[in-house]
């Protein structure tokens, strides 16, 4: 049985102009000890679906799902109190901006110790010992002295390591990393990614990596889910995705990688993700699609597993797989 099984998850936000659908009928499955990558442009609803699962969205969000099961527990049915026992322990999350994600008014030691106290009921001495171990594990030098440091005294990379240590404090079965390297320097990005992957192997936990960076996907992921405008448009194993993308959006994303660029100009995808007021009927990618045909403005069919579950009437590279 899978660790995480989400079926038909939708999230709507109440805005001044009515409801805005940020996530539109998304399915997400994740096995134990697996790395799943969710890719998409900003505004594609990839973080929102994870935040919805964690119960971290503001009250203006309306969440509906056919099924939202984690580790055998139905997250749609449990109380808030029961959910709080799971999140931060079995299911942990790290965020994009490490510096603002840590509370500026409390020391690293306090913020680390909080989870240990809450979920594991450790006393002061145990917490200190465990905190030092955790900081060591994420590669922070001189962890004893760092415990009394405040977030603003550490660099961005160090802060992200602290965030990771905090997330690992409850030995999670699933770690969700929401663009963990986007706000960091390029040199630090690789270090943090390596750290995440090695910890994932070591702890045999599942890792969901949310990113907009195909390069990050290529380096780390096993299975990739591509999201566009709140919908899951393709899902494949990473090698298949890079060689034979089936959805035109995936293909366009790959073509935009600098490493793949042919010619002097880097190709880009024209237009932007549709917003609240310009949502097209039919395929949401149709206005930006290079392969658009007449029937794309009507009903869109979901392709088979062999064709990467592509949400597209005219999947690419169909003959290769067939």
């Amino acid at each position: 049985m899978g660790l995480l099984d989400i079926r038909n998850l939708s999230v709507d936000f109440q805005t001044a102009g009515g409801l805005f659908r940020a996530v539109d009928g998304v399915d997400i499955q994740c096995e134990r000890g697996e790395i799943l990558s969710i890719v998409g442009e900003s505004g594609s609803g990839k973080s929102v679906s994870m935040l919805a699962m964690m119960g971290l969205l503001p009250w203006t969000a309306k969440i509906t799902a056919e099924k939202m099961e984690f580790d055998g527990k139905d997250l749609t049915k449990i109380t808030k109190r029961e959910r709080r026992k799971i999140i931060g322990k079995d299911m942990a999350m790290i965020f994009q901006e490490p510096i603002s994600s840590l509370n500026p008014c409390f020391t690293v030691g306090f913020q680390l110790g909080e989870s240990l106290k809450l979920h594991l009921g450790m006393n002061r001495a145990e917490r200190k010992k465990r905190s030092i171990e955790l900081l060591e594990m994420v590669g922070i030098p001189a962890p004893e002295t760092r415990l009394s440091a405040f977030p603003h005294q550490l660099s961005g990379g160090m802060n992200q390591r602290v965030m990771i240590a905090m997330a690992l404090s409850g030995d999670p079965k699933l770690l969700i990393a929401d663009e963990p390297t986007t706000a960091l320097d390029v040199t630090i990005q690789a270090q943090i990614l390596d750290l995440l992957v090695s910890l994932q192997k070591e702890k045999e936990m599942a890792l969901i990596l949310i990113t907009h960076d195909m390069g990050v996907v290529a380096e780390t992921a096993e299975r990739v889910q591509v999201q566009y405008a709140g919908q899951r448009v393709e899902e494949q194993h990473v090698t298949g995705l890079f060689t034979d993308p089936h959805h035109p959006y995936t293909s366009a994303l790959l073509n935009a990688l600098p490493e793949r660029a042919v010619g002097r100009k880097l190709p880009s995808i024209p237009g932007v993700v549709p917003g609240q007021y310009d949502r097209p009927t039919g395929c949401l990618f149709a206005p930006r699609c290079a392969h658009v045909q007449d029937d794309c403005h009507g009903v869109v069919t979901r392709q088979s597993d062999a064709l990467g579950n592509a949400l597209c009437n005219h999947p690419l590279n169909a003959e290769v797989t067939a």
Binding site: F95, S100, S101, N103, C105, E114
Partner: protein, 335 residues
Amino acid sequence: MIGFLLKRILLLIPTFIGITIVSFGFVRVLPGDPVLLMAGERGITEERYAALLAEFGYNRPMWQQYLEYLKDLLHGDFGNSLVTKQPVLSEFFTLFPATVELALCAIVLAIVIGIPAGIIAATKRGSFIDQSIMGTALVGYSMPIFWWGLLLIIVFSGTLGWTPVSGRISLLYFFEQKTGFMLIDSLLSGQKGAFASAVQHLILPTIVLATIPLAVIARQTRSAMLEVLGEDYVRTARAKGLSARLVVGVHALRNAMIPVITVIGLSVGTLLAGAILTETIFSWPGIGKWMIDSISRRDYPVVQSGLLLIAAIIMIVNLLVDITYGLINPRIRHQ
């Protein structure tokens, strides 16, 4: 932290000199001859006039007089009251505890009610509770407190007869003032009912004086809280599985308190200005009433030095607030 402190203290020096110039210049800019003014309507003989002129040093150049004034201040000589002939400084310190007692009670009341009210309003944003709290706060913020005091007297002293109209304690009780704080002294005296009487006398003035700071604190707490609740670290705290109580009460509150503390510090000035009105309405024998009485009695040495002392106290309190600010906000402490 020590550097931060030193810088703050150094910044105060020019302001302090400015304050002494204002209080020194105050008697100078009075229209007319200061000696004649002090003598009042009874008139004065030639010799007495010359003697007074020399005594106060009014016949010397202005800058010399100012330096002389500064020297006196540094020696703790703040002049004598024209009415009571007592040194202004000792009068001030006799009356000051009464004002401190009232102001402390008021600010404690304002904090104890204002901060939770602001937190509740912020966490229930847009609800009926939020709107009621903020509506009430705006009314409090717009309140002419001298009228508010009279209104409370009409209802609680007049109609209901629950509270006394004026003073600090019933005339039935008489005991030595060891600390100057009536609540403590009445307890120390051991007299039955003395403490209850002191509390009864304190209730209405405290409510009146607390009204505006309370409204300001509630409004500021709410807005700071709303801002902080949207921060990334609050999401992190919730992602840890912390209860709403801990997220709001520990993670958000600590950050939201930074601007609130500034506002509490700034309200010390408001409090002393409010004390002038409150003490007048309730005949509370503190420095506010003392200043008003001295102004109407034209007791200029008292007005002059009272102004100086009050400004100096506000400056010291603001300095203390800055230090608290540094303690609560690590980003400032480590600068």
